[in-house]
Amino acid sequence: MGSSSSRLDRVPGAKDLMEETGFSETNILCLYDRFEVLDREERGYLRLEDFEAIQQLAVNPIGDRIIGAFVFPGRETLDFPSFVRVLAHFRPTDTTWSRSGSQPEPANSRTRKLRFAFSLYDQDGDGKISRAELTEMLQAMLGMQVTDEQLQSIVGRAIQEADLDRDGAISFDEFKKMAASGQTGLKSVSSIMYRTKQQQQQQQYICGEGGTEQVHLKHSCQTLMFIFC
């Protein structure tokens, strides 16, 4: 444990982060390494340009929205704790956590996950997905291949299906209901973190960082193996 705790000291505020988000040590380390990779100029924080440099995000239809979710409007930079906090939404849901009331709701609870997804739809932050916002989202996802009328009718239908109180917009509760009723596999939102950790650990392992650490990492890899989902 000696060597890894020294590594952990590199990461600022690691212990608090671990407690707050529920990530394990190796997870935090992996994330920090990734953070450092992204932060090419080693400023200690990430900026918009660093995210935009990720190639695959550019082709992603909602890439800019995802970046926006990381980097809040009004703030120029993203430091490591915020980075981790956002990613904490994607941990698998703890079934053991119960509503004790004293602790704030953890980031990976179902509601928080849904709220994160909701915030990507709801760009102006008014708590509702309006027609315009949904149209924008669909436009982004469908690209140039759809005509306006088709888009409008899809949007109209979607709103009408989900909108239970008939106010012309989808509120968070309606969104929750829709996600619950469907088979959209919100579970898949949680699956991602397991594999991420494994991948990064393997990368580290390949790069090689010393004997005992290799053993430690290998052990972690074995426990977080490849998942069927």
Binding site: L31, R34, V37, L38, I54, Q56, L57, V59, N60, P61, I62, G63, F70, L87, F90, P92, A117, L120, Y121, R131, M137, L138, M141, L142, Q145, V146, E149, Q150, Q152, S153, I154, V155, G156, R157, A158, Q160, E161, R166, G168, M178, A179, G182, Q183, T184, G185, K187, S188, V189, S190, S191, I192, Y194, R195, T196, Q199, Q200, F226, I227, F228, C229
Partner: protein, 727 residues
């Protein structure tokens, strides 16, 4: 299977040569049973409703088989052997598998693929080894009939592999059991051949074991590859079938069957080939073929697979009565018990392992259903039937045991599973239709997760799925899908499908017929014409105010036009699809309904709009010209009873007539789902522009519906048809 020696072929020859004795006649009548038995059973179920709840259909079928077999036996005749390897594996099995493979829900299957493979492969192997091994042990132990001691290990294993075969007629709602039963067949067949080869050889070395594993991989993956190739070929062919719509279903069937045969020829797994072929070709073929062909394929597949299943069960019953049995209490009871035990242990053990890797764990209830629902069936029986008597002296014993196990599972487990499921309150899979929201949300989540993966620098599940989708869209779809639909995003295609389904439902519910027609018929005629009328005109025409003279003129023109259309002779061509007049009525009724809605909306919105609509006199002529040019699409107009007479049932904005219209539409709509009602019926004050757009869009959908229903190929005309609807 081709090289199997048909044991009873001599007897068959004898029977054939001696002419068609009356019992053979009875036999063939029994074969015809499947055609009318389902009808009988359903009518019987109607008569005795309780029966259908208790007794599953498979039991009834076996009983019928038993009866017929008993009848033949009593008469002392030998049953003409009809269940031979060729018949079963070439004729009876493929339809069932193709039906399962073609309608395989790809996404849930792929998401659970690991679990399914685990259950299918490891579970089957476990079952066969466990049962085979223990049977051997038991046989060694029993002091009683010494004949049992002669059972070698290999035959036991072989028997074990047969017994672990599962029938794919599963009544359970879980994709796991469905997928597992599909793959399980392939695994079983492979194991069967493996053990058979080994039995022929005599001794087994470790090398043989390793070779066995390799051959298993080769057989299954090779089968999948062959199937995929044929699937792509079929998709490619379907791209060019726009002018020969009649034989489109044939391509699907022929290619699938060829995939099966080719795989069997190379001793690969034909079942996997068939599944792969169906699953691969489906998305592309469905984008290419007409609506009618799609329906044809669907119903043919369902029909054939149910006929096959029925036949198999009947054979089972007959062979039970007729076959040479050698009954051995020990063997049989031990087999039955072992089957159950092995199944339970297998499921529990595998679930324990699998749950470590799954996010959504399998609960105990799920495990119970999986364990209990495994039915041994026809494959086991036929595989046992195929055993060569010389190599396996205990063949009859095996067969007896197999039959007992099958009977046990079908009757006992089949009958008790339904109450058990209800008792355990297992959540039934929602037969919910996928809503557009789900579809949007699923795609959104895919993109989101891919993005997050990219941020984390991780090439995971979503990353590769995204890459595959992109590749698919960029290259494959262009090759395999004809015309403009290759560029259609999946969401749009899904939306089209949904709208079409609802439109058909609406018309089937009779909503369209009750409407007053008036303006809609004029407007619909207008909209068909290829020329672009000025966009304002349809709007204006829909308005209530019409001078009397104009109204009369329109009425006259329309009536004469309709009469003329009816009298038009058409040349009959065997190779063209005669359009179904009922179906074309659909299209018209839909258009009418849409226009009615639009009318109502515009009444509300444009209160003070007073414009005299000018019906250009040449429009019906244009219309007729267009109709005449496409002999397939527009047939005889609906019969006089349905001819829309023009009653200008005008509704001025403030009058209560508008309310009447609403009521009319409400009544027409009441059978439909709420959502559509909402879409059409909500007062425009709230949704306003949205609804108008929605209807504009839906009426475009109906144009597309008409296209599909009437089978012309995709043509440039459709683009022009879109124009009139633009506000």
């Amino acid at each position: 299977m081709f090289y199997q020696v048909d044991v009873k072929s001599d007897a068959e020859v004898q029977v054939v040569e001696s002419g068609l004795c009356w019992l053979t006649g009875v036999w063939y009548v029994t074969l015809a049973c499947p055609c009318f038995f389902p009808v009988l059973s359903s009518s019987r179920f109607h008569l005795i409703p309780r029966l259908s709840n208790i007794v599953p259909e498979s039991c009834l079928l076996i009983t019928v088989g038993l009866l017929v077999g008993g009848l033949i036996r009593l008469a002392g005749e030998k049953v003409p052997p009809v269940l031979n390897s060729h018949l079963f594996f070439l004729c009876l099995l493929p339809p069932i598998i193709l039906d399962a493979g073609y309608f395989l829900p790809i996404r849930p299957f792929m998401e659970n693929l690991g679990t399914i493979l685990m259950f299918a492969v490891v579970g089957t192997v476990w079952n066969s080894f466990f049962i085979g091994g223990l049977l051997y042990a038991v046989c060694q132990i029993t002091p009683a009939p010494s004949s049992l001691h002669q059972l070698e290990l290999l035959p036991c294993l072989l028997f074990g592999s047969i017994i672990s075969a599962e029938i794919h007629i599963n009544e359970l709602l879980h994709i796991l059991v469905f997928g597992e039963s599909l793959l399980n067949d392939a695994v079983t067949v492979v194991l069967y051949h493996l053990f058979e080869e080994y039995s022929g050889v005599g001794t087994v070395t470790v090398l043989d074991g390793v070779l066995g594993v390799i051959s298993f991989l080769v057989v299954s993956l090779g089968g999948v590859l062959v199937g995929a190739i044929y699937g792509i070929l079929a998709a490619f062919t379907s791209r060019f079938t726009s002018h020969i719509r009649v034989i489109e279903p044939l391509f699907v069937f022929v290619y699938s069957y060829m995939a099966y045969l080719s795989a069997e020829m190379f001793h690969l797994s034909g079942i996997m080939a068939l599944i792969a072929c169906g699953a691969v070709m489906r998305p592309y073929v469905e984008a290419n073929i007409s609506h009618k062909s799609h329906t044809t394929i669907k119903y043919f597949l369902k029909m054939w697979s149910s006929v096959s299943e029925t036949l198999i069960f009947i054979f089972l019953g007959v062979a039970t009565v007729d076959g040479d049995h050698s009954w051995n209490w020990t063997f049989v009871t031990v087999t039955v018990i072992l089957c159950l035990v092995a199944r339970v242990i297998g499921v529990v053990g595998l679930t324990y392992v699998i749950n470590k890797f799954r996010i959504v764990k399998l609960t105990t209830k799920d495990q119970f259903i999986i364990a209990y629902g495994g039915l041994r069936g026809a494959i086991a029986f036929s595989l046992g039937f195929l055993l060569d008597r010389d190599v396996f002296p205990k063949r009859d014993l095996f067969l007896t045991a197999i039959i007992t196990v099958i009977f046990f599972t079908v009757f006992v487990q089949g009958m008790t599973i339904k109450p058990l499921v209800e008792l355990l309150a297992v959540k039934k899979k929602q037969e919910a239709k996928r809503s557009i929201n789900e579809e949007i949300h699923t795609q959104f989540l895919d993109h989101l997760l891919t993005g997050i993966e990219d941020i984390c620098g991780h090439y995971g599940h979503h990353h590769w799925k995204d890459k595959l989708n992109r590749f698919n869209k960029k290259y494959i779809k262009k090759c395999l899908i004809a015309g403009e639909r290759s560029k259609e995003p999946q969401l749009i295609a899904f939306y089209h499908k949904m709208e079409m389904k609802q439109a058909i439902e609406l018309v089937e519910s009779g909503g369209g017929v009750k409407l007053p027609s008036a303006m809609p018929s004029t407007v619909s005629m207008q909209n068909i014409q290829p020329k672009k009328p000025p966009p304002a005109k349809p709007v204006e025409r829909a308005l209530p105010q019409l001078p009397k003279g104009r109204e009369e003129e329109i009425r006259k023109i329309l009536r004469s036009n309709l009469q003329r259309t009816r009298q038009r002779l058409r040349s009959y061509n065997r190779h063209t699809l005669v359009a179904d007049p009922y179906e074309d009525g659909f299209g018209d009724l839909l258009i009418k309904k849409q226009k009615m809605i639009e009318l109502e909306k515009k009444i509300k919105e444009m209160n003070n709009y007073l414009t005299v609509p000018a019906a250009p006199p040449d429009s019906p002529t244009m219309c007729r010209a267009r109709l005449a040019s496409d002999p397939q699409s527009y047939s005889v107009k609906p019969s006089s009873g349905d001819v829309p007479t023009i009653q200008v049932d005008l509704a001025s904005p403030q009058s209560p007539d508008s309310v009447n219209l609403l009521d009319e539409l409400k009544r027409a709509d009441q059978q439909k789902q709420d959502e559509d009602q909402g879409l059409m019926m909500r007062p425009p004050s709230r949704e306003g522009r949205a609804n108008k757009q929605g209807e504009v869009e839906s009426s475009k959908e109906q144009q597309k519906l008409m296209r599909c229903l009437s089978d012309p190929g995709p043509s440039a005309d459709e683009e022009e048809e879109d124009e009139p609807f633009l506000p």
